[in-house]
Amino acid sequence: MTAPVIEAVGVGRIFETRGGPTEALRDLSFGVDGGEFISIIGPSGCGKSTLLRIVGDLVEPSTGSIRVNGKTARQARLDRDYGIVFQAPVLYDWRTVIENVRLPLELAGGSLEERRERPRALLRLVGLEGFRDHYPWQLSGGMQQRVSIARALALHPSILLMDEPFGALDEMTRERLNLELLQVWSETGATALFVTHSIAEAVFLSTRVVVMSPRPGTIDRIVPIDLPRPRLDKVRGEPRFFELVTAVRESLREDPALAAGNAPRAEHARARGAP
């Protein structure tokens, strides 16, 4: 039995806002094994992105702790164990496509040969070798996000963190990029943590789907996805796919119902408490 690659114990996060402290996450505990593809899904504002940022040591947890590859999240970040893809492509305007992909290698001080060859190989992997000298604005949204995926892979990260990377794209582009992402992921063997709003996307990509509750975010349910791999587009038409989509949808639905049931009661309590 090997130790999980990502292990969260009692993770919580409270943000100080103008209206007082807001609890974004409460007492999350979970483990992710090496090579898994975990999707995190939940209603808006449930702290999905915060959870991803805590794992990547971009936000500190208020309570609990995270171990990544047997180290603290900070050490894992300093060891460059992470590759990150954000919702926006976050490409630097002043760098061409290949220069953007090269950035992590420059930061890590890779060899000259690596700096020359690795970005080329990565652009081939995401099918953009013909666009290496273009500037980001000359590319479509889908292409920009592919560049950002290539950049995330530059340092052979063992963990890929993706924060709704395809959220801004149209359905057709999104489905094509889902396929490409699966291919890239299986080639790299990285462990993936993927935040999304799309139930179908989560089911199609993942080994397990983590369903989160509304704020303060907790883990409601973890749905294992037993669809066979490699997953091709035809998986989306299979009965088992629909069953799993329904299972995830129902776990998501339970909560708003709960919140809706709670809200009037809270109102009553306040009304009664008022003089």
Partner: protein, 263 residues
């Protein structure tokens, strides 16, 4: 490729055509108004009279123009240069930047030109006082723009750097500094105009005869308006040349924007 370049230059020409027509029409109108209303030349000289004077006084105007432009350029280099350096220093501590930024913005709205007579007391009647005024006039706008550019980096862009374990030095050189380039050039372009104004108006308060400001002021007070207009035209030409030189530098320094047609 060649065809595209050709079409590009034709489009460029078409772009500038309206401006050229307006210029020619404006000069023609000016000429016509002076002729039709038989306006005295000392009130408003006709364009052909000014052009004749320009040819006549060519050598003197060139010398005066060079003198004044040297002040403007030296003050500009000093003011913008130190503005950029100060912004780089201030950006190291956002808390310090927040502290000084309101004062910098307030200083930028002070009419520094009002200090010109004092500058003559402090730095003498020669180029020194004008360079000081121009430096002061160009310092604050450059400082403010550069500081904004260095600090207004989108949060995810910084997170990307952090996720790659970038050092603060790397974040500065590979993210903040290039991000500030368009901001800096916005100020650098605006400062070319400020520099010319600063130099010429400072000379109104005193300077050698062979400088544009003194020449404009003395010829105007002697009703030698065609001389004054000639010097004003030289000032305009120098200002435009200065502006376009900086715009060209921007194209070279920020090719990613030039290709997008944002400059």
């Amino acid at each position: 490729m060649h065809e595209r370049a050709e079409r590009h230059s034709v489009e460029k020409l078409r772009e500038y055509l309206p401006a050229a027509i307006v210029l020619i029409a404006g000069v023609a109108l000016w000429e016509a108004v002076v002729f039709v209303f038989s306006i005295d030349f000392y009130l408003l000289p006709a364009p052909h009279v000014i052009f004749a004077n320009l040819r006549e006084n060519y050598a003197l105007l060139l010398e005066a123009g060079l003198y004044t432009f040297t002040e403007a350029a030296a003050g500009y280099a000093l003011g913008c240069g130190s503005g950029m350096l100060a912004a780089m220093a201030a950006s190291r501590s956002p808390a310090f930047a927040d502290l000084v930024l309101p004062y910098a913005i307030a200083s930028a709205s002070v009419p520094i030109i009002a200090l010109a007579p004092l500058a003559i007391v402090w730095f003498g009647v020669d180029q020194g006082s004008k360079i000081a005024i121009v430096s002061l006039m160009t310092f604050f706008p450059t400082f403010i723009s550069a500081l904004r550019g260095l600090l207004a980096v989108p949060a995810p862009a910084v997170e990307l750097m952090r996720s790659c374990a970038a050092t603060p030095r790397q974040i500065f050189w590979k993210l903040r500094l290039p991000h500030s380039v368009p901001y800096v050039f916005t100020a650098l372009r605006a400062c070319t105009t400020l520099a010319m104004i600063g130099a010429v108006v400072s000379e109104f308060f005193g300077g050698p005869v062979k400088s544009l400001g003194v020449y404009i002021k003395s010829s105007a007070s002697l009703f030698q308006t065609r001389q004054a207009w000639s010097a004003i035209l030289v000032t305009c030409a120098l200002g435009l040349g200065f502006y376009f030189a900086v715009a060209l530098a921007e194209r070279l320094a920020a090719p990613w924007q030039a290709e997008r047609g944002e400059i």
